[in-house]
């Protein structure tokens, strides 16, 4: 058997994940619909007054994004675990964390980046001024990548556990708190026409931290599940 260079393997994993996502659009479409649905619930439960909605918009958008991210991460590794793909990856010569990184990245492209693209729609419905949209999108992009990384740890830890719809949320949400606080704060500042760069820099540092610390942790957790 010839040993393929890592770059070829990663490229192959990338296209494989992309093909799977294209084959089963409901996997990543449902969390998006869920996000929009939760956003719709708030005005109905609170008030349709644009002033009220604008004040509460950062919190609503971020809570909805957090819920939708948790929902989308539930089955991240499930099929590959059941079909033995993860076992092959763990046995291969290539670093497991690198293969998993590509998988998580593609997952983020379909759930996180699409959420970022959709977010102006949510902002529009919550009477957020257009001047705040770029900050919203940047903060959601950084935050959703961090959430994907953090959630991947949770998904890997619960992989061989008894299936439970709420376990991943219970594990993940306390850890996602800093992203929620600073993401909502950045958007809040943007709506108030103030400088949001402080909160955005903090979000970026969380993002770097979660990428670097999560990848080896996900790999270790997958190995525990495979034992």
């Amino acid at each position: 058997m010839t040993r393929h260079p890592l770059r070829t393997v990663l490229k192959h994993v990338f296209w494989r994940e992309l093909a799977f996502a294209a084959q089963k659009p409901s996997q990543w479409l449902q969390p998006l619909v869920f996000f929009l649905l939760v956003i719709t619930l708030f005005p109905l439960a609170l008030s349709p007054d644009p002033g009220v909605l604008r004040t509460l918009a950062p919190g609503m958008v971020w809570v909805a994004a957090l819920l939708s991210a948790t929902l989308s991460l539930e089955g991240l590794f499930r099929a590959d675990y059941d079909e033995g793909v993860l076992e092959q990856w763990a046995l291969s010569d290539h670093p497991l964390w690198a293969l998993l990184a590509v998988k998580i990245l593609v997952h983020w492209l379909f759930t996180g980046l699409t959420l970022v693209v959709l977010s102006p729609l949510a902002a529009l419905s919550l009477a957020v001024p257009a001047s705040a949209w770029p900050v919203l999108m940047v903060s959601l992009a950084l935050g959703s990548l961090s959430l994907s990384m953090l959630g991947a740890v949770g998904a890997a830890l619960t992989l061989s556990a008894r299936r439970s719809a709420t376990l991943l949320s219970v594990l993940m949400m306390p850890l996602a708190l800093p992203m929620l606080i600073f993401g909502a704060r950045a958007m809040d500042l943007a709506i108030l026409n103030e400088d949001p760069s402080g909160a955005l820099w903090l979000l970026s540092s969380f993002c770097v931290l979660s990428v670097t610390l999560s990848l080896p942790t996900v790999a270790a957790s997958i190995r525990i599940a495979l034992e």
Binding site: L157, T158, A161, V170, P178, I181, T217
Partner: protein, 248 residues
């Protein structure tokens, strides 16, 4: 006998079981004495605070439980790291034994904090930075216990929950500072700080006694739970039967 011999001996279930049993009186007797003095003095004999009256007395329970909630979590995370790196099963047992104790002290801290908040803030709950951090810590404990409960095989439960405990410990400072930052933003200085002027010695000494007393109480309870964990984990309990004959 070198240090490693001692370490290996402690890492074997029978000797750990025995040692934990032998340590129990060394923990509970001073705990009872210290808590008897500390709580007795603190709750009855120490002078009332000139600002807070008698309400401040809850600090004799509240502050030690806050300390123990963090101590128990840190110990769990360190034991988990040790267990993952050196594959020491007893460290997993210790983590499992500590989790419900830490969660209980966290809950005690929250309840006493909210009881203190009623006369101080006029409400049972305020989104104060320390109370909020403590609440998140409770959720971390609950998540840890939920993950452990979701596994049928103990080995996997041990290792997966150990990873979670370590991840949680890395996150605890980040969460804490985020919450403090968030709080400074939204609440300003409306919250009365319990620190304020330095505590007089007549209040401080019973408080220290409570700190040490509650810590020893935790150590005693941990010994009991660790022994129970070891019994649960041992598949071949022949030495355990002999142990029973010796009456500890």
């Amino acid at each position: 006998m070198g240090m490693w011999t001692w370490f290996h001996r402690l890492a074997s279930p029978p000797s750990c079981y025995r040692t934990a049993g032998q340590l129990k009186p060394w923990f509970w007797i001073p705990a009872v004495l210290l808590l008897g003095y500390g709580l007795g003095t603190g709750l009855w004999f120490a002078p009332p605070d000139y600002q807070q009256g008698d309400a401040y007395r809850i600090i004799y329970i509240h502050a030690p439980s806050a300390w123990l909630s963090l101590l128990a979590y840190t110990t769990m995370a360190v034991a988990s790291a040790v267990a993952l790196v050196w594959r020491i099963k007893l460290a997993h047992a210790l983590t499992a034994a500590l989790a419900p104790l830490g969660a209980s002290f966290t809950l005690l801290c929250l309840v006493t904090g909210s009881l203190w908040g009623r006369p101080m803030w006029g409400a049972y709950w305020a989104w104060d930075a320390r109370l909020t951090s403590e609440l998140i810590l409770l959720f971390l404990y609950l998540g840890y216990m939920a993950l452990r409960a979701a596994y049928d095989e103990r080995e996997r439960a041990d290792r997966a929950s150990a990873v979670l405990a370590v991840v949680g410990l890395v996150n605890v400072p980040v969460i804490h500072f985020s919450v403090v930052w968030w709080n400074s933003l939204h609440q300003g200085s409306t919250v009365i700080r319990s620190g304020g002027p330095a505590m007089p010695t007549s209040m401080l000494i019973p408080l220290l006694a409570c700190f040490f007393g509650f810590t020893l109480l935790l150590a005693y309870l941990a010994c009991i739970r660790l022994r129970a964990e070891i019994v649960l984990r041992e598949r071949k309990p022949t030495w355990l039967v002999n142990q029973g004959r010796d009456h500890d």
